[in-house]
């Protein structure tokens, strides 16, 4: 994509900026759609209708909310640390946006096709933690500080099972690059990693149960990493008001919101790349059938978005089904259950890979 833009524009700097800004074109509509979906899913799960007023069945509700947030007064309370307080929301968003650099949207567009793709994604999530701590501390408010400390502790702890499952997938595929990992799961859905990968052999059958276990472990810990229910302790309304973004309003609050939804899609996309074939279609391409090669990248973007949005939907589904866990239960789940199981899974997948 970058090379194509360099040819088109003729200036490296402008081409790099455009190529880097493309995920925004995806994130902003996704957030507008995602927030509406969240409210509609919530409504229908509770036997309500959700927003109905703005547009047909409320489809323009988020757009209206967005303009409302833009117009709101930017409240900066006294006694807070203004410099870092103003900077923190952007740092959190930058951390979630940086993840998009390594996500392969299609075989033709990946922000940076680095060989360290998935390792880089684990690493940059540290920026989000730092941003959340910054937001919580500079707010000079005990609820914000509690929320930030909980969130940071949670993300740091759940990074371990996530990283262990990712490690087992890296052992299986032999690459850290997400684009290569997607390419391995090409053609039909039985080639996906969750069904044991593309190689037809005895080990494929052996792998299937451990792949499912790995997927479940990864999905649970990724829920905790993006602070979604049942692990949304950092912003538990009943105890902490709004968590680390209690003091924020207007555009800065919407940056946190944007970052949260961007993160939700990013982990869902990661799940789809690791286990469900990434941008590859489960049933073959229309472009191949019609003989139109140019159609394939667009179909791939569609499948990538569809898989990602499906897992975002599952996150919402869980949010309105499960009650929130307590802080000690949260840590127990991570350290006493997820990490040992993830280690066991890693060991077994390693042995099967060696066979």
């Amino acid at each position: 994509m970058y090379d194509f833009l360099v040819d088109l524009i003729g200036n490296e700097i402008i081409a790099a900026f455009i190529s880097a800004a493309l995920p925004v074109v995806f994130i902003v509509p996704f957030v507008i759609f995602g927030v509406l979906m969240e409210r509609k899913v919530a409504g229908h799960m509770q036997d309500r209708l959700g927003p109905m007023r703005v547009g047909y069945h409320g489809i323009l509700q988020t757009v209206a909310d967005f303009f409302k947030l833009l117009q709101k007064e930017d409240i900066v309370a006294d006694g807070i640390d203004k410099k870092f307080f103003n900077f923190a929301p952007y740092l959190v968003f930058a951390g979630s946006y940086a993840v998009y650099a390594a996500l392969p949207f299609s075989s033709k567009y990946i922000g940076a096709d680095i060989d360290l793709g998935i390792f880089y994604i684990i690493a940059v999530s540290g920026l989000v933690v730092a941003g959340i701590l910054m937001a919580g501390w500079t707010s000079n408010n005990k609820y914000s500080l509690y929320g930030a400390l909980r969130s940071a502790a949670q993300i740091v702890s759940y990074e371990i099972p996530t990283a262990l499952i990712i490690l087992s997938m890296v052992m299986l595929t032999g690459t850290l690059s997400l684009a290569e990992m997607s390419e391995m799961q090409t053609a039909y859905f039985w080639n996906w990693n969750i069904f044991g990968g593309a190689e037809w052999s005895f080990t494929k059958l052996l792998l299937i149960p451990f792949m499912f276990a790995g997927f479940l472990l990864f999905y649970i810990s990724s829920l905790a990493e993006v602070n979604r229910t049942p692990f949304d302790m950092p912003e538990a309304e009943s105890e902490l008001v709004g968590g680390y973004h209690t003091e924020y309003s207007g555009i800065k609050f919407s940056m946190f919101f944007l970052a949260e939804y961007a993160n939700m899609f990013a982990v869902s996309a990661l799940v789809s790349v690791l286990f469900f074939g990434g941008y590859h279609s489960p049933i073959g391409y229309v472009g191949n059938t019609l003989g139109l090669e140019a159609l394939i990248p667009f179909e791939q973007v569609f499948w990538f978005a569809a898989k990602g949005i499906f897992f975002v939907f599952v996150q919402m589904w869980l949010r309105w089904t499960l009650p929130r866990v307590r802080v000690d239960q949260l840590m127990t789940i991570c350290w006493k259950y997820l990490i040992p199981y993830a280690f066991l899974n890693l060991l077994i997948i390693g042995i099967i890979t060696l066979i």
Partner: protein, 171 residues
Amino acid sequence: MELYDLIFYFFAIVTVVSAFMVVTSKNIVHAGFNLLFTFFGVAGIYVLLGADFIAVVQLLVYVGGILILLLFGIMLTNKITSVELRTGTAHIIPAVIGVGIFWGALTAIVAFKTDWVEVNTASTESTTIIGLGNLLLTDYVLIFELLGILLLVALIGAASFARREIEELKD
């Protein structure tokens, strides 16, 4: 000016300015937050040097690990955030002499004693992990394993510290 020059100057300025803020800041939490930008800038410079693995490890270990631990430590320590740090120099002449000698020795070693290897930038590989992985499991396998044992010992030590305190609380 090329794209990479622009990126280099951006990261260089971020690193130097934030490092300056870390040492001059009177508030210890501000120093911690500024350290984030120093680590980030150094990671960017590693990328420009072609050391992609080191850059990501820099982010993972320093930003994701050490800095978060540092901030936790500062925030959970009672009354540390309101302490005014003394940043004025007390002994400026000895300090200048000491730092000058150290800096001079370092620069002299770097400038005259190092065997600089000229690398053809066009032929460098896209990633360093393959070479790194091979070296770690062949030439440096003993050191690698020893480091693993060291980390395990540290982990067990940390766990035993935490456990002892809980038992003391129960008494």
